[in-house]
Every structure is written in C-alpha cells, then in structure tokens.
Amino acid sequence: MLALRRVAKSFLDRARPTPVLENISLDIPEHEFVCIVGPSGSGKSTLLRIMMGLTPPSSGEVLYRGQRVTSVNLHAAMVFQSFALLPWLTVQANVELGLRARDLPEEDARKRAAFYLDRVGLDGYEEAYPMELSGGMKQRAGLARALAVEPELLFMDEPFAGLDALTSANLREEVLTLWSDHALPVNTVVMVTHIIEEAVLMADRVVVLSSRPGRIAADLQVKLPRPRSKRDEGFDELVDSIFERIV
C-alpha cells in the first residue's frame, strides 16, 4: 500500500546539511499495524511526516498504491502528540474541518463527525472547546478528526506520550478495537513511539530505527496472539531483544 524507496532526509544546521534519515526502504502492506520505534533523534517523526507527504524527502521516493507522493496524501490522516486541535473551534467543528476541506455537504459533515465522536466515546461533548477537555479526551477528539476523513491509512505520532498511564492504556485498547473493526475504512496504521512495550502490545510489525542518522536497524514481525498483555509468554523476551538492538 505504501512503499518507501531509498528515502533520505537532511536538514540544514547552521548552513551545514545534517543527515537525519538515511537509506530507508520499507513496504507497508494493507491491513498491517506497524510501529516505528527508536531513540530520540532517530528521525521517527520526520519519517512519519515524509510518509504523510507533509515534508518532501531530500532524496528517494514515497509511493502510495504505486503513485508517487508529492504533496499531502489526502487518503491518509494523522494523529499528533500535542493533539493539535484548534483551540478556537468546538470539538465538533474541529472534527468537521477535514470534511469541509473535502467539500462534503454540511449536513453529511455534521452527521459523520457525530458518528466518529460517538465511536471514540465523546458523545455529548460536541459543543465543548478543546481547553475544557482532559488530555485523554483531547486525544479522542484528535482521533475522531483523523478517522472522520475515512482514511485508508492512519499515521500516529506518539499519540499516547502526553497522557497519564491509565488513560493511555485505555486509549490503546480503543485504538486496537477501532483498527480491528472491519466496518471502518481505516485498516492500516503506522505509529511512532519510543516505548517498546507499547509497540509490542499493539503492532504486527516493529521497525527499529538507529539514531543520528536514522537507519533501519531491525524489522521484526510480532507473532504474539491478540489480545495481548504484558504477562504473555514471550513478551519480555521480544521487548528485551528490541531494546538490545537500539543500544
């Protein structure tokens, strides 16, 4: 579904080009839940932005269903660590934003936003402003906003990093439920995280990036049966082996 071919990215640091990502080639098939893990500075977030088409790669190319991605991929959507909700719009208006951008008639946009707000458990909070919500609820709204455009591909950039432990555990479960719900169009997820346990709990496949510049250090399938728990047999071994590859 998504293919990266020898993608590299470098930024200018005081007029000197500094490589952030080097030689990333990756194929993400449909129906897969992929986690990208790596230490800070490994360019995970940059890689995600390149996949989404928000940032162009310095070299190499990104293909979406065989088409080269040159601008923002409107068949995909993204969830952000800081939630990135517009503080001046109500939750409902925030969720409708992407639909208005796609010229959906007003009535349909309203209905669809309400549907997804209900799915993420924000029923009744349509008219609230983001600042009136707790962190977990903000991220639910961010999730609803991304799902409402009915993307084929969902990108998540450390979506649980700004939340407390209990909230993030709950939200993790719900993301997995939404992902496995075949009634929803989204079935392919790429998520960036720095918590290895989180990756092993959620993903079909874990891609490990090395740091400065980021290269693919390992690419592992997670074969543990779902639903998973940290007490599953083999869980700790897998986490440890990924941890060793990072350091």
């Binding site: 932005r49 989404m52 928000l54 923002v72 409107l74 995909a76 959507a77 993204m78 952000f80 660590q81 800081s82 990135a84 909700l85 517009l86 503080p87 001046w88 719009l89 934003l97 992407g98 208005r100 951008a101 796609r102 010229d103 007003e106 402003y129 600042m131 906003r145 455009v149 990108f155």
Partner: protein, 566 residues
C-alpha cells in the same frame, strides 16, 4: 461571553436613539460641514461633539486601511521564505519615521495628485494617522502567523485545509490575540498624534480639518484653555467609551484564540469592574447573526475555485504586466529617491550644522525622561505585584494616559515651570515623559501579572519578606517585560519629540534645540525640504542603529536569562 445577562428591553432602543442623535449631530448641521480653510472662524465649544465624530471616522478609516496593509505585509513576511528579511527592516524604518516625515508624501500623493479639495485633505489626514497605526499591526500579523505551533500547522496540512478555509480556520484566528492587543496600541498612538494629523501644512498654507486634534492644537495656540480642556475631556471620554464598548469585550473574546490559556486569569477581568453594557450586545446580535449566516452560505468550494481562478488570472496578467509594472515601480521609487537626494544634497542651510548637537540633546532629554519615568513606575509595579487586584485598574489608567497628547499637558506645565527651573528645557523633558511612562507601566504591569502566584507563595513559605521577594523574584521575572516596554517607550518618544520640543502656546513658540524642533521648524517655519529630510535621515539612522546595537542584544540576553518556563 459564556453567561447570558438579562438587559432591560428598553436599553437597546435607548442606545440606538443616542447613536442616531450622535450621528445626526455629526452629519446634520451644515455648520459642521464647514471646512475651515486658512484663517477660518475659530472653533467653539459646540463644535466639540461633531469634531469627536469626525476624528472617530478618520481614525476608523485609517485603522481599517492599516489592518488591510498590515495583513498583506505580515502575511507575506511570514509565509514567503526570505520575505521577512526584506519586509521586517522596512517596517522597522517606517515605525521610526515620525509623522511629520510623512507630510511631504501625504501632500504630494493627495493634494498634488488629487487636486486639494476636502476629500483629498481628508485622505491626506487619514494617511498621516495610518502612518501612526500600521507598523505594529503588521508586526502583530507576522508574529501571529509565525508562532502557530508546528504540529498545529502540520495537522491543518494533513487535513487538506487550503485557500479560504485555511485562512478562516487557521491563519486569521492565530493572529487575533496579538492583533487585538496591538490594535489597542495603534488606537492609543493614533489619538496621541492626532493633534499633528488634522492640520495639513503645505508651505505657507494650512488647512484645518474639523476634529479633536485640530481643535486642541488651535485652542492651545490661542491660549483658549476652556476649549482645550473641553477637547481634552471629550478625547478622554471617547477613549474610555471605546475601551469599555470595544476593547474589553474584544480582549475577553480573543482569549479563546490563544494556544496557551492561563486558567482563571481572564475570569478576573470580567468581574474586575462591570459597567452596564448599554444593550450593545443585543444591538449587535442581528448583525452577528447576519454575518454568520452569510458566511455559512458562502460555498467554500466555489469561493476557493473563484480565488484560484482569479489568482491564475492575476498571475497571467502579472506575466504580461510585470515588466511595465516593474519599470513603473522602479521609476517611481527612483523618482522619489532622486527627489529626496536632490533635496538632501549640499549646499545645506546653515541650520544643518546644528543637527548633531540637536540629536545629542534630544538623546539626553529622552534618557532623562526615561530615568524619571522609571523612578516612579518601578515602585508602582512592585506595589501592584503585592496587590494583584489593582493591576486591571492601573492598566486602564495607563491606556487612557497614553492616549492624551503630550501637548495637552502644556498649559499646566507652563503655568508651573515657565521661566523657572530651566523653563522649556524641563517642560520638554516632562512632555517626553508623558508619552513614555505609560508604555513602561503597561508592560511592567503585564510582566508583574505573569509571575505565577505559586512562585510568590513558595517564596513566602520560605520566609522571604516582601522586599526580598521583590529583589529575588519580581524584578528578575519582569526583566523581559521591562526591556520590551523600554523598546516601545524609546521608539515612541523619539517620535513624540515632535510634540515635546516645539510648542505653540498663546501665540508664542516655545522650543529647545533638538531633532524634534528641527523637524517642526522645517515643516512649519522654513518649509525646507532639505532640513526635513536630513533630520529624518539622522533620526531614522539613530533609532534603527540603537535598536540593532542596544535593544536587540539586551532583549536576547534578558530573554535567555530571565524567561519563566512553563
């Protein structure tokens, strides 16, 4: 705005009637339309209300024009790579040219090209007010757009927001807090310099436009203190009214458009002092509903397509026109520069030799005013840090004080000081202070407010007394605000020199050697373009160099050291 308040049903009707009456007074009687040309009849007290109306209209027109220009300049600077490096210094220069420096341009553009009728005089006056209002608004737009958090920007991109929707959902709201704050500053500045903007001088001829500024100026020149006081009271009443009807609700409303919302801070503002709202929200509700429904009806897709089409058309037209337009622009700018260079080229009048000394004296005067202003404002700000409830009240006082033109204080100062303690020298320092102190107070109060209460409490629980808390916490935490306030105060005072170093009072001219005096003499006495441009070049050079060499560095240093994280 969350809570609905009940207003008596008759209030909106009454307010509407008062508004109609006021407009009638402004526009109705033909004597109001009388344009004082040259030596027309002296203004009298009944002229005050219509004059206030005219001034208000002019200020509004100029403010709207400023908003448009500021949006274009700020948006361009913030979105085009490299544009900021050209536009921001230009804005900086524009900001440091005092309003008298725009007289030649105003006269050429509006009187020479448009014939010199009432309309062209009005336009010239509006242009002059515009030059007092526009610059910080442009900086505000730039700041608003360029401080949108990266993730929010990426979110908007990832949702595919473009064109009108992007403007409406992301860019405009992001500018609202800084625009509202700077609009207040712009209006204050406009009122302050109004006195210099409503009398258009071309060589020997002077044209008065009906307005508070011209009345105040003429009344002082004739020594008619009753009328001057009346004009002053009208001005202050107008400023206070606008504060309550417009800026206070706007400030509360603009809080919604901030990324970082401090809880509980703004709730206080609403309860600090509540005046009856005169039924104005009720009057405005249909207007708001109308605008809202019009917006809802606007087909975004069609609007986007239309915008895209006209952009394509403009690009095509530009492709054909860019050479002629470029040539015309270069020719125009070249013509202007050539004119300025011709005016500035030697032989210089003998007066020019005094320019360096004038600059030095002006500098010393501002420095003295700065020290004097700090001497009373710093203790006041520290007092306010112990009494957080008083901060709002003081802010309002500062804002009103800043709107009163320096010249208005002149009669009092003359009565007290003329021919005593150095006379005009002291007066001019005092006048410079009248403009400068409020900006310092404004910013210091803001700084004091931003010190978190729990830091105060932790200091107190450690057993520090009030004086130690001031020294260890409040003063360091206010350093960034102090520097910001100083930049604004110094910049403003350089411009305000034109009102403080040269005053006509009771038919007599009071002046001291200084760059502001030079500018006034070149405009009102000798009419020498050479002196005007030389003085402005020197002034702008000094201000920009001072900003770059002193304030910029200090600002960076202070921000690195004293920023309150969190």
């Amino acid at each position: 705005m969350s809570e609905e308040r009940t207003t008596p049903a008759w209030l909106p009707i009454l307010s509407g009637l008062v508004l109609v009456l006021f407009l009638g007074l402004v526009l109705g009687p033909e004597r109001v339309l009388h344009v004082a040309r040259g030596v027309a009849r002296a203004p009298r007290a009944p002229d005050l209300l219509p004059a206030a109306g005219w001034s208000m209209l002019r200020m509004t027109a100029s403010y709207l024009a400023s908003l448009l220009f500021a949006w274009a300049a700020g948006y361009y600077a913030a979105t085009r790579p490299g544009a900021a490096r050209v536009i921001l210094p230009l804005l900086d220069v524009g900001q440091s040219v005092p309003v008298l420096g725009f007289f030649p341009a105003a006269i050429y553009l509006f009187l020479t090209l448009l014939g010199g009728g009432r309309l062209s005089l009005e336009l010239a006056s509006i242009f002059l007010i515009f030059t007092c209002q526009v610059w910080n608004l442009a900086f505000a737009v730039y700041e608003g757009i360029s401080t949108i958090p990266a993730e929010t920007r990426a979110a908007a991109d990832s949702l595919g927001l473009r064109g009108v929707l992007r403007l409406r959902a992301l860019l405009l709201p992001a500018c609202i807090p800084s625009l509202v704050y700077n609009s207040m500053l712009s209006w204050t500045n406009g009122w302050y310099f109004l006195i210099a903007c409503e009398i258009i001088v071309t060589g020997k001829a002077e044209y008065d436009l009906p307005g508070l500024g011209s009345i105040l100026s003429r009344a002082l020149a004739r020594g008619d203190l009753m009328l001057a006081t009346g004009a002053l009271f009208t001005l202050v009443a107008l400023v206070i009214t606008i504060e309550f009807v417009l800026w206070r609700p706007m400030r509360v409303w603009s809080q919604r458009y901030r990324y970082d919302t401090m809880q509980g801070e703004e709730a206080e503002e609403e309860t600090a002092f509540r005046l009856p709202d005169l039924g104005i929200p009720t009057l405005l509700r249909p207007v708001r509903a109308l605008v809202h429904s019009l917006w809802e009806r606007l087909p975004i897709a069609a609007a986007n397509r239309a915008a895209a089409r006209s952009a394509a058309l403009a690009r095509a037209a530009w492709r054909w026109l860019r050479w002629p337009a470029g040539v015309a622009l270069v020719a125009g700018v070249g013509f202007g520069i050539a004119g300025i260079v011709r005016a500035m080229s030697p032989p210089w009048p003998r007066e020019a030799a005094a320019l360096p000394l004038a600059l030095l004296f002006s500098f010393l005067r501002i420095a003295a005013a700065y020290v004097l202003a700090l001497a009373w404002i710093l203790p006041l700000a520290l007092w306010a840090s112990d009494h957080p409830r008083q901060v709002r009240r003081l802010s309002l006082i500062a804002q009103i004080g800043a709107s009163i033109p320096a010249t208005a204080f002149f009669p009092v100062l003359v009565a007290l000081l003329v021919d005593r303690f150095g006379g005009m020298e002291i007066i001019s320092i005092a006048l410079a202070m009248t403009g400068m102190q409020w900006y310092l107070l404004f910013n210091l109060l803001g700084g004091v407010q931003r010190v978190p209460r729990d830091l105060h409490e932790s200091m107190r629980s450690l057993g520090l007394d009030r004086r130690q808390i001031h020294r260890k916490l409040v003063i360091p935490a206010c350093m960034p605000a102090l520097v910001t306030g100083s930049v604004v105060a110094w910049g403003g005072t350089w411009n305000a020199l034109i009102l403080s170093e040269y005053v006509v009072y009771r038919g007599r001219t009071y002046e001291v050697l200084g760059i502001g005096q030079m500018l006034n003499r070149a405009t009102f006495q000798t009419g020498s373009r050479t002196m005007l441009f030389l003085s402005i070049a020197l002034l702008v050079g000094t201000v920009v160099a001072f900003n770059r060499l002193v304030w910029d560095r200090l600002y960076r240093e202070v921000h690195a050291r004293y920023r309150l994280e969190g």
